[in-house]
Amino acid sequence: MFRLLSRSSLPQASTLAPKVDVLYDFILWISLISFVAVIGALIYFVFRYRRRTESDKTPYITGHSVAENAVAVGLLAVVMAIFAWGWIGYKEIIQSPAEALEIQILGRQWLWQVEYDNGRTLVNELVVPKGKPVQLIMTSADVLHSFYVPDFRLKQDLVPGAYTKLWFEATEAGEHQVFCAEYCGTAHAQMFAKVKVLEPEEYARWQAEGGQAQVAATTGGKKGAAHSVHLAVNLAEKGRQVFTQKGCMACHAVEKGKILVGPSLFGIFGKQETLADGSKVVVDENYLRESLMDPQLKLVKGFPPLMPTFRGVLTDEEVNALVAYVKSLK
C-alpha cells in the first residue's frame, strides 16, 4: 500500500519526465480525494443506516437536482483542467527543437536497428549525448512496434510504410531500458534495447572512435591492423559480444536442446541439418555466413522463415567473430 502515494520507482532521465510526473501526481491526488470522499460516504452509510429491524422506516427522497448539477459542473471543471494540462505537456512532447540531433531507428521482429548520419549502424543500442535534444526518425520493416523508454516517460509507435518521430533530451548519463510496447509476435517481450547516455565530451570521443574504426576496417590501416591482432587473440569472445549486441540471443539459444524462435546454436557447427525442402547441408563457415545474409535461402526444417537479413548490418569482422563464437559452442 505504500506504493499508493508514490508515482513510480523510475528515474526522471529526460527533460520531459518531471513534467509528466507532476501531472501524474496531480491526477493521483485528485483521484485519492475523490475516492476517499465517495467510498468513505459509502462505507459510513452502510454502517450508519444498516437494517436494524424488518420494519425500518426510510424517508422518501427522489433526488436533488442542485446537488447533482453541482457534482457535474465541479467535475467538468476538474477534468477540463486535467485535459488542458495534458495537452500542454503533449505539445512539448511532439514539438522537437530545430537543432536536434537526428538518428534513424528501424524496428524489425525482434530488434532495433539504429543508424547515425555518418552511416554508423548499431543494433539494440542507441548512444546519445546528455543535455542535447535528439530526434528519432522511426519506421518499421515488418509489423507495428513501439519505442518505449520508461525512464524518459516517452513512447511512440513505429508504423511500417510511414515515418514517426520522437524527440527527447536526456538528463542522466548511463543506460536506460528500451522496450517494445506494441505487441509484435513471438519475441515481443525480448525486443530490448538500451539508450546509452554519454557526457557530451565522451559522446564526441565515441563518435570519433566510431569513425576511425570504420576507416580502419575498410582501409586496413595501422590502427586496423592492431585491431585485427586483438581480434585474433579473442575472436570467439568478440563474437559472443556481437551475438548479444545484435540481438541474436532473442531467437537463438546457446544451451543444448533449448529452442527459442530459431534453432539452438549449441554444437551446431559441423553437424548435418535437414532443410525445409528435405535436402541436407553440413553447417560450416560458408553456411553460417550465408544464413546471416540470406536467412531464408536454406531454412532448417521445422522453423518458420522469420529471421531478418543482417546484410549491411554486420561488418565482415563481426561475421567472422560470430562464426568463431558458434564454433566454440560445444
Binding site: 475523490s34 422518501y60 512539448e92 518505449y148
Partner: protein, 528 residues
C-alpha cells in the same frame, strides 16, 4: 402469491427438444446464461494460465503458446462472455417482465440470435483447434495479416457473433417501444431497462462496423487485397480506427448493463427510492452517445495527428460527467436507507468501489502527456480490468444472486455467497492493484517474460488470481448445487417493487395471468 401455484412455471414443460426450439424469452435467456457462463469459465482458465506464466521471471510456456493464451483470454471474455452475457441472458429474461410484456417483440428472431451466437462462437472455438490465434483480441494489422495462426476463423467468428448482437438489440428496442404494459411510461421503467435500451442502441449502430472490419481483414488475408498492409499499399493505422470505432462503444455495451443491475439492487437492499432516477436514465443515453466519439483515445501514440489527439482527449474527459453522476446517485441512495448486506448488495457495493477506481484511473489515460508514458503498459491492463471485471462482472454477479431465486425458484446459500464474494473482492484487488504500479514502473503489456525489477508485484498479482479462481469455483459450485435443492425460494425474497417480484418464482410460462396495469414507478419505497 399462492394463487399462482397452479400456473405452470416456464421450467416445467417438455424435454431437451422443447428447450432447443423454445420461443420463450426466459428459456432463451437461460440458454444464453449457461452458454456465456461456460465461456466465462473457459476465458477465466486462460486468464489463470496467463498469470501462471507471469508468476516469476523466466519461461514456463513457450512465447507462442503464451501469446495464444492471452489472445484467447481476451477474445473469449470480450466476444463470448462480457458483450452477450448481461443483455442476452439477464436482459432477455427480465426485460419483458420488467415492462409487463409476455415476451420480446420477435420471439423467433430471439431464438435465431441465440443460434447465430452459438455458430459464431463455434467458429472461434474452431480457430482454437486449428492452431489458435496469437494477435491479441484487437487483431492489429499488419501482424494479423502476416501471422501464420488461425486469424480467419477467429475473425469470422466475431463477424457472425456480431449479427447475434445486432438482432438482439433490434429486438429489445422494439420490445421497449411497442410492448410496454398499460401505464408503463418510459419514466416508470426500471433503470435496468434504460441501461439495456441504451446498450441495444449501441449494439445496433456500432456492431456493423466490426463486421465490416473483420471482413476486410479476411479479404486481405485470403485474397490479398491491400487495405491495411503497407506492402500491399494499405494503411495499418486505418485498421485501428475501424477497430476502435466499434470496440470503444463496445466497452459501453459491456458496462451499461452492469450499471443497470446496480441501479436495481441498491434501492431494493436500501428500501429507498433511487436517487435521481432521470439523471441515471439519461446518463446511460449520454454515455451511449459519447461512446461513439472517443475511439481515438486508444491511439494517442499510434501516429494519429495532434489535432485528433486534442479532440479525442477532450471528448474522453466528458465521459467522466455522466459516469460520476451515476456513482454519486447510487451512493446518495444509501443515505438514510435501511441497508441489508445480502450477497447481491455486497456485489453492488463492490461494483461502486472498484468501478470508481476504474473510472479515476481512466483520467490518467485520457490526459495526453501521461498516456504517452502509460499507454500499452500494465496500467492499462489494470484500468480496464477494474472497469470490466470490477465493474461489469461484479454487476453481473450482483444480478445473478439477486435474480437467482426468481429465475430458478431456488435460493443460493447466503453464507457461501458471502465467502465467495470476499474471495472475489479481495482477490480482485490483490490481482489488479499491483498492475497499476507495474504499469507506472514501465512494464509493457502482452509480455511473455519480464525483467527482474517487476518480479515482486507480478508474484502478488498471480497469487491474487488464485483467490479469484477459488471464489469463482465456489460460486459455480453452490449455484449448481442450489438447483437440486428441495426447498422453494419465496416469490419476493428481497421485498422488490419491480414487476418480476410480483409473480411467482420461477415465473409462469406467460409471465402474467393478465396484463398488469402500472400506476407507479419501480422504486416507491419509504414514506412520502
Amino acid at each position: 402469491m399462492a394463487e399462482h401455484s397452479h400456473h405452470k412455471s416456464y421450467l416445467e414443460e417438455g424435454g431437451v427438444k422443447s428447450w432447443f426450439t423454445t420461443l420463450d424469452h426466459k428459456r432463451i435467456g437461460i440458454m444464453y446464461l449457461f452458454t456465456t457462463m461456460f465461456f466465462f469459465a473457459v476465458g477465466g482458465i486462460f486468464g489463470l494460465l496467463v498469470r501462471l506464466e507471469l508468476l516469476q521471471p523466466g519461461p514456463l510456456f513457450s512465447p507462442d503458446l503464451y501469446n495464444k493464451f492471452f489472445t484467447l483470454h481476451g477474445a473469449i471474455m470480450i466476444f463470448m462472455f462480457i458483450i452477450p452475457n448481461i443483455p442476452a441472458a439477464l436482459g432477455n429474461f427480465f426485460l419483458p417482465i420488467h415492462i409487463g410484456a409476455k415476451d420480446v417483440a420477435f420471439p423467433r428472431l430471439n431464438l435465431a440470435s441465440y443460434y447465430i451466437f452459438v455458430g459464431g462462437a463455434t467458429l472461434l472455438i474452431l480457430s482454437l483447434l486449428t492452431g489458435g490465434v496469437d494477435t491479441g483480441w484487437t487483431f492489429y494489422t499488419p501482424y494479423s495479416i502476416r501471422t501464420a495462426t488461425s486469424v480467419v476463423l477467429a475473425t469470422l467468428g466475431v463477424f457472425v457473433m456480431g449479427f447475434s448482437g445486432i438482432l438482439t438489440g433490434l429486438n429489445f428496442m422494439t420490445t421497449v417501444h411497442k410492448l410496454r404494459a398499460p401505464g408503463m411510461t418510459f419514466y416508470r421503467m426500471p433503470l435496468f431497462i434504460w441501461a439495456i435500451y441504451a446498450t441495444a442502441i449501441i449494439q445496433v449502430l456500432a456492431t456493423p462496423v466490426i463486421g465490416i472490419t473483420t471482413l476486410l481483414l479476411v479479404m486481405e488475408r485470403v485474397l490479398g487485397v491491400g487495405f491495411f498492409d503497407p506492402k500491399l499499399g494499405g494503411d495499418p493505422v486505418l485498421f485501428q480506427h475501424f477497430f476502435w470505432f466499434y470496440s470503444h462503444p463496445a466497452v459501453y455495451i459491456m458496462i451499461l448493463p452492469g450499471m443497470g443491475i446496480v441501479s436495481e439492487v441498491i434501492p431494493v437492499f436500501s428500501r429507498k427510492h433511487i436517487f435521481g432516477y432521470k439523471a441515471i436514465a439519461y446518463s446511460s443515453l449520454a454515455i451511449a452517445f459519447i461512446s461513439f466519439i472517443v475511439w481515438g483515445h486508444h491511439m494517442f501514440v499510434s501516429s494519429q495527428s495532434p489535432l485528433a489527439n486534442f479532440l479525442f482527449s477532450i471528448l474522453t474527459m466528458f465521459v467522466a460527467v455522466p459516469t460520476a453522476i451515476k456513482i454519486f446517485n447510487w451512493t446518495a441512495t444509501l443515505y438514510k436507507g435501511s441497508i441489508q448486506l445480502k450477497t447481491p448488495m455486497l456485489y453492488a457495493l463492490a461494483f461502486i468501489f472498484l468501478f470508481t477506481i476504474g473510472g479515476l484511473t481512466g483520467l490518467f489515460l485520457a490526459a495526453l502527456s501521461v498516456d504517452v508514458h502509460l499507454h500499452d503498459t500494465y496500467f492499462v491492463v489494470a484500468h480496464f480490468h477494474y472497469v470490466m471485471m470490477g465493474g461489469t462482472v461484479m454487476g453481473l454477479l450482483a444480478g445473478l444472486h439477486y435474480w437467482w431465486p426468481k429465475m430458478f425458484g431456488k435460493m443460493y446459500p447466503e453464507t457461501l455467497g458471502k465467502i465467495s464474494w470476499a474471495f472475489n473482492f479481495v482477490g480482485f484487488n490483490v490481482t489488479f492493484l499491483p498492475q497499476f504500479w507495474l504499469g507506472s514502473d514501465g512494464m509493457p503489456r502482452r509480455y511473455h517474460d519480464y525483467l527482474p525489477q517487476y518480479a515482486h508485484w507480478n508474484l502478488v498479482s498471480t497469487v491474487g488470481s488464485w483467490l479469484i479462481g477459488a471464489g469463482m469455483l465456489l460460486m459455480f459450485g453452490y449455484f449448481i448445487a442450489s438447483l437440486f435443492k428441495k426447498e422453494k425460494a419465496a416469490d419476493n425474497p428481497w421485498g422488490g417493487k419491480t414487476l418480476e417480484w410480483q409473480i411467482s418464482s420461477p415465473p409462469p410460462v406467460h409471465n402474467f395471468e393478465k396484463t398488469p396495469v402500472i400506476t407507479e414507478g419501480p422504486y416507491e419505497y419509504g414514506q412520502p
